[in-house]
Symmetry: C2
Subunit: 314 residues, 2 copies
Amino acid sequence: MQLPSLQNIKTAHALIKPFIHETPVMHSELLNLKMGCQLLFKCENFQKVGAFKFRGASHAVLQLSAEEKKRGVATHSSGNHAAALAKAATMNGIKAHIVMPVNAPGVKIEAVKAYGGQITFCEPTLDARETTLQKVMDATRAVLVHPYDNFNVICGQGTACLELVSQIPEPDVVMAPIGGGGLMSGTCIAAKNSWKKTRIIGAEPAQANDAFLSFQANKLIPANNPKTIADGLRTSLSPLTFEIINSHLDELLTCSENAIVEAMELVYKYLKIVIEPSSAVPLAVMLEHREKFTGKTVAIILSGGNVDLKNLPF
Amino acid sequence: MQLPSLQNIKTAHALIKPFIHETPVMHSELLNLKMGCQLLFKCENFQKVGAFKFRGASHAVLQLSAEEKKRGVATHSSGNHAAALAKAATMNGIKAHIVMPVNAPGVKIEAVKAYGGQITFCEPTLDARETTLQKVMDATRAVLVHPYDNFNVICGQGTACLELVSQIPEPDVVMAPIGGGGLMSGTCIAAKNSWKKTRIIGAEPAQANDAFLSFQANKLIPANNPKTIADGLRTSLSPLTFEIINSHLDELLTCSENAIVEAMELVYKYLKIVIEPSSAVPLAVMLEHREKFTGKTVAIILSGGNVDLKNLPF
């Protein structure tokens, strides 16, 4: 299996740079005081479509051949990848076919429509999603852009950490949340090949700990319908993301649901920014493993900011 | 009455620059699409203590003589000025005596304590606040730093717009909320003397429209116990801020409470940032006077981000 290299991520960055935001790195003196360490937050909640997913989706779209562009792209997703692929495609004059479950949140459906995606609804099961996607692809010949089991998507996600490398001095620790593992994979490759001593730590909800179990067992163990407030982290690692994470990650820590909510509120309160629950998972891990981080400089990649504002959990 | 000049604001900026954040200017393509104009938000919610108030307070503190510094500073406030003065003072090794009403929000009391302010509590009436403050000043000889009826404070607040002038091309409109008028006064002077054609528009809740009435009547008409969700805007103009606003402002528009809540949610949703209700008032005014802003470039100064996260109004 060919894994992306740092050079692949650099090439991806050069390609997508005109289309993405270089997101800022933020900190709060009071939060540092409270946590007993120096925290630096890479704000992908400010990325286009409100999530890092736009990096990978736009890279995948830009890598298409002229012939593939004519055919369009397709995916199934009820989350940020759907909106990201829709925007990345329409921005390039390409059709995006998005299969969404009928029970997807209204705000996500609205976003995909706003970005020009063509939605096909299906029953809310993985089977229905895959069957419907296959039908759409058969009918349109659109190219599948998987949310994370995709070489070009992972290279795109890695550009968040690549930017971070240029924005801050080498930290003691870099952290990202793990869902399907695209962001963590890109972060692993960018960090491991750019910084010398930085520990790369993955963060996962204890209630969606497939990556934790896989990392411990040294083999891919898929998630079994996990229940966590971190809706972006309910997916399982893929063969490609497992391979990268398993070979690069220094440590993988989990956290409780309560800690996710507490961490989320801390970010709103001290940084004055809006994040979705998945983004709060690394800080939540720190709240429950304080001894590992005391006195350290810790860079955290905040994955996104698309949250139901009428149902904030704190 | 001597009014601050652009040069006064520039001098203030040079003085406070090492101590403040240069706050970013943010925008959202989707929000621009929705509003039919180009919006640029100057993010003072990211300022130290979470509000523009730190600019004025730190300028006032830095202007004290050595003898005054020994005596310390004092004010009464239940809001952002209390925290700002506490931090500005303790940062310079100066004592800050803050008179706060017993019913001040716990989060504000906590902030003043965290920044090292010495709190004296009083009954929640203006009379008790002023009497208690006088007692504290008599006992300590501390120097009063009024939240807005103060030349140096206004010069400090004007540095937000001065920074904005260096960050963006000349906009069609610049807007700020009006409470006591310190931010609007500083904005008036910085904008009027830096940009040639920019209209300066003040924004006020209809339910706290003392500045609107004063501007219409061409004389200072104090507020009468106004009820608005925009807690930072319940104060009345002072002789100094009325004089500046009355002579510089091009237009003053008001908005409903519902529009404030709607505008607040739009900022959270599209910009992914946390603001307090007062910050949402300019955008709320735009929602209710759309025809005035269509196709225009509008710069808005977001005043702060200190809000009770457990009681968001949307």
